[in-house]
């Protein structure tokens, strides 16, 4: 037995109650519905999926912001929701979040110095003003905002979107987290600067050893980040992981019909290639409601390859079809 993974979620379910009318039945949005996944120390894992698939909910749960409806979140092998308060706070410190919108996640009335020194004070990493200035300057250098003097006393509105996201990343790594959950961190950044933010995150992993859970809907970004970081991509659909494997393997040899369909639909920056692509046609364009997900395989009502009497009845297990590459599809199960 090696050491336990940094984070493991087991059969995780997150349901949000909704009510239709005052006396209506209580219904649940099944945002995450039975996910088992683990992230090792220093690992890069990308969670890829369309809007509403549950990827953000899963990310927030891993960061301890939602309490599971069922299942467990294990941090270094321990169930986080039965940790004593002191250890729970230690876990919360160890898992930090970078949100999508760098305009909304920085307080507009505080300077960069104030923003970055708050967590240092909170966690007792630095106290005196000299110490704080020194530590904050080092953080700014680490995220490429140099020289730090130019940025220390600026307000968020004086920074560009890319610079703001660098401040957000600096704040996340300031408390030495073991995992950073980055939820669409480049979606609101200028196109030409996006890879710079991803490269920065990977560089920081080399320097301080953080693991990443990168959440995105962008196939290209998922491939870039996970492939460069030697990590995996997990594809989510309606609250479930349908495929997980090494980045390039998932992109070039997708096994689940859902992954295959999405990859066949993404435009690529080559007119010949892009126009040659034959997108797989689904039986329905609409994503079913996560309140009443389809029976059996959740993708069966849209899947062009579905097997009647099997896919609509029983849920397919995740099986390993290529080295380290798992898929939940009945066509992949040897019967």
């Amino acid at each position: 037995m090696g050491s336990p993974p940094l984070i493991k979620v087991e059969n995780l379910k997150i349901y949000f109650p909704i009510r239709r009318g005052l006396f209506g039945p209580r219904l649940y949005v099944k945002a995450v519905d039975g996910v088992t996944i683990s992230i090792d120390v220093g690992e890069v894992l990308t969670l890829l999926g369309e809007s509403g698939c549950g990827k953000t909910t899963l990310g927030k749960t891993i960061a301890g912001l939602y309490r599971p409806t069922a299942g467990r979140v294990l941090f270094m092998g321990k169930d986080v929701w039965s940790l004593p308060p002191r250890e729970f706070m230690e876990y919360r410190r160890s898992v930090q979040i970078v949100h999508q919108d760098p305009y909304a996640s920085l307080n507009p009335t505080k300077t960069v110095f104030q923003i970055l020194s708050a967590p240092l004070k909170r966690w007792g990493i630095a106290y005196s003003r000299e110490e704080l200035i020194d530590k904050v300057s080092k953080l700014l250098e680490l995220v490429g905002l140099t020289p730090p003097e130019d940025f220390l006393f600026k307000y968020p509105h004086q920074l560009s979107g890319g610079q703001r996201q660098r401040v957000v990343i600096a704040r996340a790594i300031s408390v030495n987290p073991k995992l950073v959950v980055a939820d669409e961190p480049i979606t609101m950044i200028d196109v030409s600067l996006r890879l710079g933010i991803l490269d920065l995150m990977l560089e920081l992993r080399e320097k301080i050893g953080t693991a990443y859970l990168f959440i995105t809907h962008d196939f290209g970004a998922a491939r870039y980040f996970s492939a460069k970081g030697g990590g995996r991509i997990a594809v989510m659909y309606l609250g479930k992981i349908v495929e997980i494997g090494p980045a390039e393997d998932v992109i070039h040899y997708p096994q689940h019909p859902y992954t295959q369909t999405l990859i066949s639909a993404v435009p690529v920056p080559d007119p010949e290639e892009s126009r040659k692509k034959k997108p797989i046609q689904l039986r329905s364009l609409d994503i079913p409601s996560p309140v009443n997900p389809p029976s059996g395989c959740r993708f069966h009502d849209r899947c062009p390859f579905y097997i009647e009497g099997l896919c609509d009845k029983e849920e397919p297990p995740l099986v390993e079809v290529r080295p380290n590459h798992w898929v939940a599809c009945w066509r992949a199960v040897k019967r």
Partner: protein, 328 residues
């Protein structure tokens, strides 16, 4: 020679800002050919949307057309109009009837208190079409072509429709009066992959069925590879390169175009060859002197690129490039 429907010359548009004038579109010249799909690609702040708003003359009050012309040649009558200088009441006869607009539906393009049928009728009435029956017939025809169920959609409020359906409604509204030119501003940006693919395929299908010129504006250059016939690359209010889509992607000439294509995280090619563009986009209140891209350009030459602005010149293969590498 292809027939030119829009001919933009030396167009300059500034916004009045707190710190001074924002040089949003600066000395832009560009031709749009009849029945082509012209892609305009650029980052935020490149001026691509301002260019669209100027052609339609729907700029916000803080904006001013400083100089330049936008000549629109009506292919039916052969008459020419300068959209940059015409009085508003004259522009109103061309807007939506001849040159129409499809905004990003996710950005509150539809009024949440009005049913889609009222959007349709009001759009038509605003341009003098009061025959309800005829207008609705036309709308039903367009909805069917865009694979929307007319009965259901017309009687819905915007919030009852999915993002992809709303975007298709805005496309139908843009086409309601049979325009010759349709300007689409980021019409697939907030949509999921499959919905985006569906809309791109619908647009391709549409141009096979009817004569229409499309100007497709996006920050996502891969979409232009999929859809456009020609591509214009904008940076900091300037045109950097204009060419056939195959030329642009197979052998980009401008260092910015080259860098932009390399900065796309794509599913093809090696991830090792993808890289960001160093530096950041310029401040448009004080744009850099000379070539606006020179502070980020690997080929920038001191004393030339940082002092003199490169002219937009035509290369032997027909494309236009504004770069000193090709201009001396």
């Amino acid at each position: 020679m292809p027939e030119t429907i829009l001919s933009i010359r030396n167009l300059t548009v500034f916004y009045r800002g707190l710190r001074g004038y924002v040089h949003a579109v600066d000395d832009v010249s560009l031709d749009v050919y009849r029945n082509e799909v012209l892609g305009i690609v650029g980052e935020s702040g490149s001026g691509k949307s301002t260019l669209a708003l100027t052609i339609l003359r729907i700029l916000p009050p803080t904006a001013r057309i400083v100089r330049g012309s936008i000549i629109y040649r009506d292919p039916e009558t052969g008459r020419e109009y300068d959209l940059a200088k015409m009085p508003e009441r004259e522009v109103a006869k061309i807007r939506w009837r001849k040159i129409s607009y499809v905004p990003q539906a996710a950005l509150n393009a539809l009024n949440p208190t009005l049913k889609i049928v009222d959007h349709v009728l009001e759009t038509a009435r605003a341009h003098g079409f009061t025959d309800k029956k005829k207008v609705l017939e036309k709308a039903e025809y367009l909805f069917k072509m865009l694979r929307l169920d007319p009965k259901r959609v017309l009687n819905s409020y915007p919030h009852e429709l999915s993002g992809g359906m709303k975007q298709r409604v805005t496309i139908a509204l843009g086409m309601l009066l049979d325009p010759q030119v349709l300007i689409l501003d980021e019409p697939t940006t907030a949509l999921d992959v499959l919905t985006q693919r569906f809309i791109l395929d619908l647009l391709k299908d549409l141009r096979k069925k009817i004569d229409i010129t499309m100007i497709f504006i996006t920050h996502d250059i891969a979409i232009e590879a999929d859809l456009a016939d020609r591509v214009a690359v904008m940076y900091a209010g300037k045109i950097m390169e204009v060419g056939d889509v195959f030329q642009i992607f197979k052998a980009p000439k401008h260092p910015y175009t080259q860098a932009l294509i390399r900065s796309i995280p794509s599913l093809i090619g090696s991830v090792e060859e993808m890289r960001p563009i160093p530096g950041s986009p310029p401040d448009l209140v004080n744009p850099p002197p000379g070539c606006r891209f020179h502070p980020r350009c690997p080929y920038a030459e001191k004393g030339l690129c940082d002092t003199k602005e490169p002219p937009l010149i035509q290369l032997a293969d027909g494309r236009l490039v504004a770069c000193w590498l090709y201009a001396r």
